[in-house]
């Protein structure tokens, strides 16, 4: 265990060599993974290796930041669709990963930046999803007299914004009563909030159709053309995710971002220094929630079906484990965590199940479906959470914190996470 801890602690993502060498490495690896994608059109491993391109770009510190961003954009918006546009499997996986990256970034604002443990984050996702589902299926027309029938796909775009605003409003509504609570209490109350939203979604039949759910949620449309294909959702999601990443980067160093960091490190001291606690916390809840609201709208349109089982406590914890795995507070870490957990969840466990079944079939052993590894998501999340908490609480890619010293005597600022190298 001690050896494991030593192996982990010096892990920093940093490529060797100068600018030219790094660019060459990036280009070579990109060509390699594109080849893999073409050779193995249903391989999740190929997709994972392709995703590692982004990590490589992030680790190329000798390359200027603007180039890094440009390469990342080209890799996700040009190369990947060019290679895999005709492959709904890769497009679907890419979209799902992107949605979870956005969710994790949103929750990261609440947990990673402001230090408020929110265990009911899925409530905001549900708000966005149900908002679009109710209006685009015509359910809204049943209780809103001025509506006649379902809204068309053109309405998807304003509803992206409405979903954002609605979820932000929910975030503030949750925030107001829980402002005075700390740590564990906050966690339990937000958990309760998430459950309340789910129970309401399952119980208010006249609005949400209850446990039956709402089928036939509309896909987006532009000028009469419906954008319902996997590729369309891929582009829509990625553009929004890009926007969210940009907003997050801008928020991090802003006045409010620094206020959040102050609250996270020491609420009492922050208050004494004049940080407006109420406003800063409510803004954290609202920002985090708004990302989830937008993603909810996209999710509803992509699935074309919404029901309460998509918004359980497990979903909230899944997003928390993404943040914990990747590294709280840092954008690359959170994105990495989201990608790993999503793929683990949707593909790798299922892949292991298929493998076990095929092995079992070969030897003539019937593996009962109840022992299927894909049924044990919770176990995987649980193991990730415990191991990361004990050995690497700062995550796979620890957040880079700017350290500012007042004078030579002052101690360097300590990261929020506890030292990770101390095994039990």
């Amino acid at each position: 265990m001690a050896a494991l801890a030593r192996f982990w602690s010096p892990f920093r993502l940093r490529l060797p060599g100068g600018r030219a060498a790094q660019l060459l490495l990036i280009g070579g690896y990109l060509a390699f993974t594109v080849g893999l994608l073409l050779l193995f059109p249903r391989s999740i491993i190929a997709f994972l290796l392709y995703l590692a391109n982004l990590l490589l770009v992030f680790g190329a510190r000798a390359v200027p930041g603007a180039w890094q961003a440009a390469i990342a954009v080209v890799e996700t918006l040009v190369v990947f669709p060019a290679v895999a546009a005709g492959n709904p499997f890769f497009m679907g996986v890419g979209t799902t990963v992107a949605i979870y990256v956005a969710l994790a970034l949103g929750l990261n604002i609440v947990i990673g930046y402001a230090g408020l443990l929110d265990l009911g984050y899925v409530a905001f996702y549900a708000s966005g999803a149900y908002l679009w589902a109710i209006f685009s299926t015509g359910k809204a027309a049943e209780f809103l007299p001025f509506l006649h029938g379902p809204l068309g796909g053109e309405w998807f775009w304003p509803f992206l914004v409405l979903g954002l605003l609605f979820a932000a409003l929910m975030g503030v509504l949750l925030g107001i009563p829980v402002l005075r609570l700390h740590g564990d209490y906050l966690a339990i109350v937000t958990l309760g909030f998430g459950e309340i939203i789910r129970i309401l979604a399952a119980g208010l039949n006249s609005i949400t159709n209850g446990a039956v759910g709402l089928p036939g949620v509309g896909a987006p449309a532009i000028g009469g053309r419906t954008l319902g294909a996997a590729v369309d959702f891929y582009f829509i999601t990625l553009v929004i995710v890009g926007l969210i990443v940009w907003v997050t980067i801008r928020l991090e160093g802003s006045r409010i971002g620094r206020a959040w960091a102050a609250i996270r490190e020491d609420e009492t001291a922050a208050r004494a220094m004049g940080v407006p606690l109420t406003r800063a916390k409510l803004l954290a809840f609202a920002c985090g929630a708004s990302f989830a609201g937008m993603m909810g709208v996209i999710f509803a349109a992509k699935q074309s079906y919404v029901d309460p089982t998509s918004f359980t406590f497990m979903e909230s914890i899944g997003v928390v484990s993404m943040i914990v795995l990747g590294g709280m507070g840092g954008i690359p870490g959170v994105a990495l965590g989201a990608a790993i957990v999503t793929l683990l969840n949707i593909q790798v466990l299922g892949g292991i199940s298929d493998f076990i079944n095929s092995v079992g079939a070969r030897w003539g052993i019937q593996i009962p479906p109840a022992l299927n590894p894909s049924q044990y998501h919770q176990l995987v999340f649980g193991v990730i959470l415990v191991l990361m908490a004990i050995w690497r609480p700062e995550g796979l890619i620890p957040a880079r914190r700017r350290h500012v010293r007042a004078d030579e005597e002052a101690e360097p600022a300590t990261p929020a996470a506890a030292p990770g190298g101390e095994p039990a």
Partner: protein, 312 residues
């Protein structure tokens, strides 16, 4: 409402179960200021061990209904032992290494442990029984119908309910005696008051914390068996919701305060049943969460708790 007295009685019974679980939350919070998120799952493990014993006894030809007191004791003892061992193990491997970490990290570890226990029980039961939703053998089958003058319909009381309440009261009394009269109990109170000073007085703080987990988890395990016999079906996921409710009960009574958690449990059980009767069973769980939020906002110290000044 005609059914109000009946709801009140049902609430009382479930309230005693909540109270037994809430004690575990409150004791751990008292010494560590930590919400032991896995406690609901320790309760669940107790329920499964007890049920497995009852099933095994039936397999050996001893039907629980033939000698209910013996069957219940045989189910309770191993359930309490396993739950206690599990509680101590969880503390040792998931909480103790993190005692100096930020609260967020400990809570995350606790949630992880809770998930691991749930799915491991599911795995074990799937291998052992072929299913993970278990029916529980009946122990006390009698049902009494008591006519009370002035009430339109007679009250229905299960014999099992009386046993649940009786067992819960006995355990509460024993626990109170342990905490208030014994040497270990005094050490426990000292650690809760101030762990550093307690250590300076020669109290082995680590041992006392382990003991706290042991006692709290044993009570949780016993609550699991009582719950199983009362509600007749268990799944590996019952610990989540009931754990949250028991935690709510601990908060209502004032977290860290043992008599408070008894009071809070009974109060929450009654409120939930009666309130659920008004808003509909579908929204009954919302009711418990609303109680939690309301108490935390308006009286965060709970009914019997003391207001703790935040140290700077």
């Amino acid at each position: 409402m005609d059914i109000l007295p009946q709801l009140f009685l049902d609430g009382l019974v479930v309230g005693f179960v909540y109270a037994l679980i809430a004690v575990g939350y409150t004791m751990v919070y008292g010494v560590l200021e930590l919400i032991n998120f896995a406690h609901g799952d320790i309760f669940m493990v107790g329920a499964f061990v007890g049920t497995e014993v009852l099933v095994a006894l039936a397999g050996w030809g001893l039907r629980a209904t033939a000698d209910p007191w013996l069957a219940l004791s045989l189910a309770l003892l191993p359930a309490m032992a396993v739950a206690a061992a599990l509680g101590v193990a969880v503390e040792r491997f998931a909480y103790r290494p993190l005692r100096r970490s930020p609260r967020l990290i400990i809570l995350i570890s606790a949630i992880g442990v809770s998930f691991i226990i749930e799915d491991l029980v599911r795995l074990v039961e799937t291998i052992h029984q072929g299913k993970f939703v278990l029916p529980v053998p009946t122990v006390f089958p009698d049902v009494y119908h008591v006519s009370v003058p002035g009430l339109p319909s007679p009250l229905t009381i299960k014999a099992n309910s009386l046993v649940v309440v009786g067992a819960a009261v006995i355990m509460m009394v024993v626990l109170t005696l342990i905490v208030s009269r014994t040497r270990a109990g005094r050490a426990m109170r000292a650690v809760a008051e101030d762990p550093v000073t307690a250590a300076l007085q020669g109290v082995d703080v680590d041992r006392i914390i382990a003991l706290t987990f042991l006692i709290g988890s044993a009570m949780g395990g016993a609550a699991g068996v009582l719950f199983a016999t009362q509600y007749t079906t268990i799944t590996p996921y019952i610990g989540f919701l009931i754990g949250i409710k028991a935690f709510t009960a601990a908060v209502v009574g004032g977290i860290g305060n043992i008599p408070g958690s008894f009071l809070g449990g009974i109060l929450l059980g009654v409120l939930e049943q009666v309130g659920g009767g008004f808003v509909g069973a579908k929204f009954q769980n919302v009711f418990a969460f609303c109680v939690l939020v309301a108490v935390l906002i308006f009286k965060p110290s709970g009914l019997l708790g003391q207001r703790v000044q935040e140290k700077v």
